[in-house]
């Protein structure tokens, strides 16, 4: 199946000479959740803005559903929904009207049943006659999502959807995202929060300095780059790592009470069995063992640092 979004050689230089994108290639598969991670000013929003048609590209090509976003903008924009980063709302309008307006703007005939469903899914239905200025920030965020879903898009862009959002809303939002995914909608989100990407994305892209540094299946990425550490708590502290354990490259911590062993979870032989046997042979009594996987955050920081 061809990718739903295909970006090739995308370049954007703004009027002031700032090069926001320096040649991005990216293929997004239909039905997946792709998280784009990156520091502020990395070019994530510019990338999304070009795909959605808000910003003109300076070079390169973007296809959505097989159509060119510049030449065939009617076809591409009809299937795209966008939740922008900033809380931009028409303060004096009611929730119902502003969401219905979005549907009409995307060329779809009025469908009150659909609007009602979207509002109910986002726990907004009881606020439908409220003016937007009467709503809290979190509620406004929900309205922006409702607007983006009003025309039943096949591809949904969420630009930092959880910035400044409380835990409840975040949970609600991920429920909606899961439901959309089950109905076949492709979701692209940008975020600073690595846990978020780790929690819901299928694939993760890292953008920095206008370039896509990496694009991987989340699990594969974790496996490939994920180091694990084994921490061994000892019953009795030891002054130094015993001679016969020198081959394991162990570190001693906590005044001799803890041994640390680094290994790769993806390796065929982790060396744990031999290590444990060697520990017993050395006469050490173990109190506890724990392992920790390096998080996406560690990987991310490493990549961005390396890219500098």
């Amino acid at each position: 199946m061809p990718p739903i979004v295909s970006v090739s050689g995308l370049v954007k230089t703004y009027g002031n000479g700032f090069q926001a994108l320096k040649g991005i290639d990216l293929a997004i598969e239909e039905g997946e959740i792709l998280a784009l991670l990156g520091p502020n000013g990395a070019g994530k929003t510019t990338l999304i803005s070009i795909i959605c048609g808000i910003v003109n590209p300076s070079g390169g090509k973007v296809l959505v559903g097989g159509f060119d976003v510049v030449k065939d903008f009617r076809q591409t924009r009809a299937i795209i929904g966008l939740v922008p980063q900033e809380l931009t709302t028409d303060q004096f309008e009611t929730v119902w009207n502003t969401v219905s307006f979005s549907r009409g703007l995307h060329g779809k005939a009025a469908n009150p049943a659909h609007i009602e469903r979207v509002l109910k899914d986002l726990s907004l239905y009881d606020k439908k006659d409220n003016k937007l200025r009467e709503l809290s920030g979190g509620m406004k965020r929900r309205v922006l999502i409702a607007k983006a879903l009003a025309h039943e898009p096949r591809v949904l862009f969420l630009d930092e959807p959880t910035a400044g959002v409380d835990v409840n809303l975040r949970k609600d939002m991920w429920k909606v995202v899961q439901r959309l995914r089950e109905s076949g909608v492709t979701i692209i989100l940008t975020t600073h929060y690595i846990e978020e990407a780790e929690e819901i994305a299928d694939r993760i892209g890292v953008v920095s300095g206008g370039q896509l540094l990496l694009l991987e299946e989340k699990a594969a990425l974790m496996k490939k780059l994920g180091r694990k550490t084994l921490a061994i708590e000892l019953a009795q502290p030891i002054p130094a790592v015993p001679e016969q354990l020198s081959g394991f490259n162990l570190r001693l911590e906590e005044e001799g009470r803890r041994l640390i062993y680094d290994y790769h979870a993806s390796g065929a032989r982790t060396g744990i069995t031999t290590l444990l046997a060697a520990l017993a042979e050395a006469g050490l009594t173990l109190k506890d063992i724990s392992t920790r996987q390096s998080s996406l955050e560690d990987i991310f920081v490493e990549l961005v640092e390396a890219g500098r």
Partner: protein, 253 residues
């Protein structure tokens, strides 16, 4: 053609007019009544009639034009500037609509609103003076063309404006002098020759003259010249708007 989108924008804009009904409708009625009291009663004592038309009736087309021009420019400018200001313009730019459709929606709503208010003023005026319309079709044509042209001018201003000051510059500072000096309240034949010549450089003179001709068959210039001036003005603005849309000027930069 995305007819749904045009309809959505048009109705959304008209809804805004309903929300500001008091300001939109009541205030022009009051100011028109004031003009009649001040100009009609006070000045009308001294100028009985111009070219055989009673003074109060003479100024009515000019009064309608004054409000039509100001309202259309303001509405057209505000309609597109507001989403730029609040940031909701992202939605227009990411929707499957061409800029021509956006324009039809906004300019159509601005012109409709201007014309509604113009008709309200005509109705108000008919309480004070006897109005007769000699050429109703030509009157409607002048009325509609002027409304569309100046709403389009407003739309261009709304796209160009970077802040509220720029937004109000032309509607507040340029339009009223042009209308007042364009013979709304007098015939320019009453002016010294020099100011008559200057007045002929004022495009609004032609609009008011043509519009007044459709009422009373009296005019400063040939009504066909008036019509031609509006059409030329409309063509210039259309060309400007086409350029704006092609380059993405101040919209997609």
């Amino acid at each position: 053609m995305n007819g749904q989108a045009i309809k959505a924008i048009y109705l959304f804009e008209m809804a805004r007019m309903r929300r500001t009904l008091l300001q939109s409708v009541v205030s022009p009625v009051i100011s028109t009544s004031l003009y009649f009291i001040v100009f009609g009663a006070a000045v009308g004592q001294r100028i009985q009639e111009i070219d055989g038309v009673p003074y109060g009736a003479f100024i009515t087309p000019g009064l309608i034009m004054l409000t039509l021009l100001t309202q259309c420019v303001s509405n057209g400018a505000f309609g597109i500037y507001f989403p730029k200001f609040t940031g909701t313009i992202y939605e227009l730019l990411s929707a499957p609509v061409s800029m021509a459709e956006v324009l039809i929606g906004y300019v159509g709503a601005a012109a409709t609103k201007g014309m509604i208010i113009g008709l309200i003023i005509l109705a108000t005026a008919s309480f004070f003076v006897d109005i007769r319309i000699a050429h109703p079709l030509m009157m409607a044509l002048f009325f509609a063309l002027t409304a569309i042209t100046f709403s389009l001018l407003g739309f261009v201003i709304g796209i160009w404006a970077k802040d509220f000051e720029q937004l109000n510059l032309i509607p507040m500072l340029v339009v009223p002098p042009l209308v007042f000096l364009g013979g709304s309240f007098y015939s320019i034949s009453m002016l010294p020759p020099f100011w008559q010549a200057v007045s002929h450089a004022n495009p609004v003179l032609y609009l008011i003259s043509g519009f007044r001709w459709s009422f009373y068959e009296i005019s400063e210039v040939d009504p066909m010249i008036s019509l031609a001036i509006i059409v030329v003005f409309l063509a210039i603005l259309s060309a400007l708007v086409t350029w704006i849309f092609r380059t993405g000027y101040r919209l997609r930069e």
